[in-house]
């Protein structure tokens, strides 16, 4: 019932019974689950490009879940991490969030809480992946513009009319109109509103 492209949840817990039961529970909402018995295997092997989330037990033999979390963040892993703990202290919770955990849940965990957290995490991940894809595309499109077209785009974003732009650049409104049509085509923009939404940030911060 699950397509290979549906989000994948990585579940890391050293206790087989806990691992299996949580995998079963997560599976009931249509999310795919990959269980891991130990953090070492997980870090070495998991697919960093996929969409999904990570569920990490804090108390594991050999290496603490908080240490694993630090490693993942340092590595730049963008999947949201949900921490699970048997007896969480305020300090532990504070450290987890500071390190970049998306959620901190206590065992035994209620199904609704866990599943809600997972859905939210997955959505957040999808959005963040889309946003970074959009950003990348916008940067690529922007790179195609000529120097003059970038000047014109800057003034359009600033809210100037064609006449005002022509006066500012000392060209005729007709020439402005030509630049305008070209840059709309190059940037693949369908409306002025879309143009401004996608490219305003690039113009204001051309770096």
């Amino acid at each position: 019932m699950n397509s290979p492209l549906s989000p994948l949840i990585h579940l890391i817990d050293d206790d087989a019974a806990v691992r299996d039961s949580l995998a079963l529970l997560i599976g009931t909402v249509g999310l795919r689950v990959q269980p891991w018995a130990g953090p070492q295997d997980f870090i070495a092997q998991f697919d960093r490009s996929g969409i999904g989330a990570i569920v990490l037990d804090v108390r594991m033999p050999g290496i603490s879940g908080l240490t694993v979390l630090d490693q993942l963040i340092a590595e730049g892993v963008d999947q949201p991490v949900i921490m699970l703990t048997g007896h969480g202290t305020v300090e532990m919770c504070r450290r987890a969030f500071k390190s970049g955990a998306a959620e901190f849940l206590e065992k035994p965990v209620d199904d609704q809480k866990l599943l809600d957290a997972l859905q939210a995490a997955v959505q957040q991940h999808v959005r963040s992946r889309e946003r970074s894809r959009d950003d990348r595309e916008a940067r690529e499109h922007y790179a195609r513009l000529s120097e003059r077209e970038r000047e014109v785009l800057g003034l359009i974003v600033a809210g100037l009319t064609n006449k005002e732009i022509g006066r500012a650049l000392a060209v005729s409104p007709r020439t402005v109109e030509t630049h305008r049509a070209k840059l709309f085509a190059k940037l693949d923009a369908e409306s002025l509103a879309q143009l401004i939404r996608r490219y305003a940030a690039l113009v204001e911060d051309p770096a």
Binding site: A17, L25, V109
Partner: protein, 481 residues
């Protein structure tokens, strides 16, 4: 404070107190010696002055007597009363003295109107006293030693340390030798009060080492030492009490920590199955709500939930067994020790093989009175501990010795390993509940074993054995044969 430095400070203070005390004692002793010496010297001076004055008076009286009676016999009678007068001479009219020196003295006597000295010979201890008069002058030869009133003398002349000398014009006459060749001491010099006999009374007293108050000083030093020893003992006692209190406090903290560990351990042990139970049942619920319901998967999830519930119950059961300390004395029966050992070894066979250990087992047959399950639990626990110790040393050094013997009408089982042994600070706490050196251990294994052994009328002890390793000894009453 550093105990060594503290002790040194106390010793130095003690030394100072002893030295000050001794100085005070010596000074006061010297002061009293000086006072006694000066009193004695003054008495000597007074006595000799009195005698010389008396002699003056005798001479005057002789002149008066002869002027009254005109006979020499009266004078001789008077002189005989005084033993110091050795000889008495008379010169009438124009007669001359037998001794020429007496003439000069007579002239002086006439001039000064008192008796005058002549022929002073301290070497022989005598001198002449001349009194000029009319019609006859008298001269008396006086014995120096004889003029001393020994019966009133303030010192024992033979033993007194005071030296007494009469001096006149460079001549000396020794009245009392005292101690000579001694260290610096006291001096006294005073001329006799009679003008006619201007002898100097010279007294001296040397101070010898033996004059110092050694006994008193020794007493003081001993007293100081005793006081210091008492002080130190008191301090040591206080330090010991502080240490005992500290240990007590540490013990309480350790016990609290152990309880905290137990609670954390139990929480984890229970939390895992509870998490699985909850997840399984909730997953099953969701599967049943699916359209169509996934009955098989739901059934399987429920089965797993039940398993995990049993696991949790097992944890609680273990805890209860620890807490309840079952009374095993009621189920005592004869058990062959070697059978119990073999059962335990059989259970541990996989670990033994993994570690490459072949236990050496004594072949004595000993039957003890025990509860079989409790006995096997103890043996199992001891063997498990031994294996864990042996896992820490190289495979070639792993020896497990199991001995069975009868000692003092008791069955004795020993389990010895060649592991790292038991640290000295761990040994006394080994059987304490909740004490563990193992990460994640509850620290109840050996405590339970000891309780079980005691419950069966036996004992369990631990020791290190040379050259390396630990040995546990279980003693149980023998079964009646």
């Amino acid at each position: 404070m550093n105990p060594l430095r503290g002790r040194l400070a106390v010793a130095l203070i003690g030394l100072a107190v002893a030295a000050i005390g001794c100085t005070v004692l010596v000074r006061s002793e010297l002061a009293s010696l000086r006072a006694a010496f000066e009193t004695d010297a003054r008495i000597v001076h007074r006595l000799l002055s009195q005698r010389s004055a008396q002699q003056d008076a005798v001479m005057s009286m002789l002149s008066l007597l002869q002027s009254g009676s005109g006979t020499d016999a009266a004078g001789r009678r008077v002189a005989s009363v005084y033993p110091q007068i050795l000889d008495l001479l008379q010169r009438h009219g124009d007669a001359s003295w037998t001794e020429p020196a007496l003439a000069a003295a007579e002239d002086e006597s006439r001039r000064e109107r008192r008796a005058a000295l002549a022929g002073v010979d301290f070497a022989r201890g005598r001198y002449w006293l001349v009194q000029a008069a009319t019609p006859a002058s008298h001269a008396a030869q006086i014995d120096l030693r004889g003029m001393v009133p020994w019966e009133e003398w303030p010192m024992p002349p033979e033993t007194s340390p005071v030296r007494v000398i009469l001096e006149y014009a460079g001549q000396q006459f020794l009245l009392q030798a005292g101690n000579t060749g001694s260290h610096s001491g006291f001096d006294f010099r005073k001329r006799l009060a009679t003008e006619s006999q201007p002898f100097d009374v010279v007294a001296a007293r040397g101070i010898r080492w033996s004059d110092l108050p050694w006994l008193k000083m020794l007493g003081w030093i001993l007293l100081t030492a005793a006081a210091l020893a008492g002080l130190l003992a008191l301090e040591r006692q206080r330090a010991e009490r502080r240490r005992a209190e500290e240990l007590l406090r540490l013990g309480q903290v350790a016990r609290l920590n152990a309880l905290g560990e137990l609670a954390a351990g139990m929480a984890h042990e229970l939390n895992q199955p509870l998490t699985a139970v909850l997840a399984n049942t909730q997953a099953a619920g969701r599967m049943l709500n699916d359209e169509p319901a996934e009955l098989d998967s739901a059934r399987e999830a429920m089965q797993r939930a039940a398993e995990q519930a049993r696991r949790a119950s097992g944890v609680v059961d273990r805890l209860r067994r620890v807490v309840e300390r079952p009374d095993v004395s009621a189920q005592l029966q004869p058990v062959k020790l070697e059978v119990a050992i073999n059962n335990a070894l059989y259970l541990l066979e996989p670990q033994l093989q993994q570690l490459g250990i072949k236990p050496s087992l004594g072949q004595t047959a000993v039957s003890v009175l025990a509860e079989p399950v409790a006995l096997e639990q103890i043996i199992h626990n001891l063997l498990t501990n031994a294996l864990q110790a042996l896992a820490q040393v190289p495979a070639a050094d792993r020896h497990l010795d199991i001995g069975v013997r009868i000692v003092d009408d008791k069955g004795r089982l020993t389990v010895g390993d060649s592991g790292p042994g038991i640290a000295a600070d761990v040994l006394p706490r080994l059987f304490e509940p909740f004490f563990t050196t193992r990460e994640g251990g509850l620290g109840l294994g050996l405590s339970l074993c000891e309780s079980l052994a005691a419950g069966m009328g036996g004992s369990l002890t631990a020791a290190n054995r040379p050259p390396r390793g630990a040995v546990f000894t279980l003693q149980l009453p023998l079964a009646a044969t």
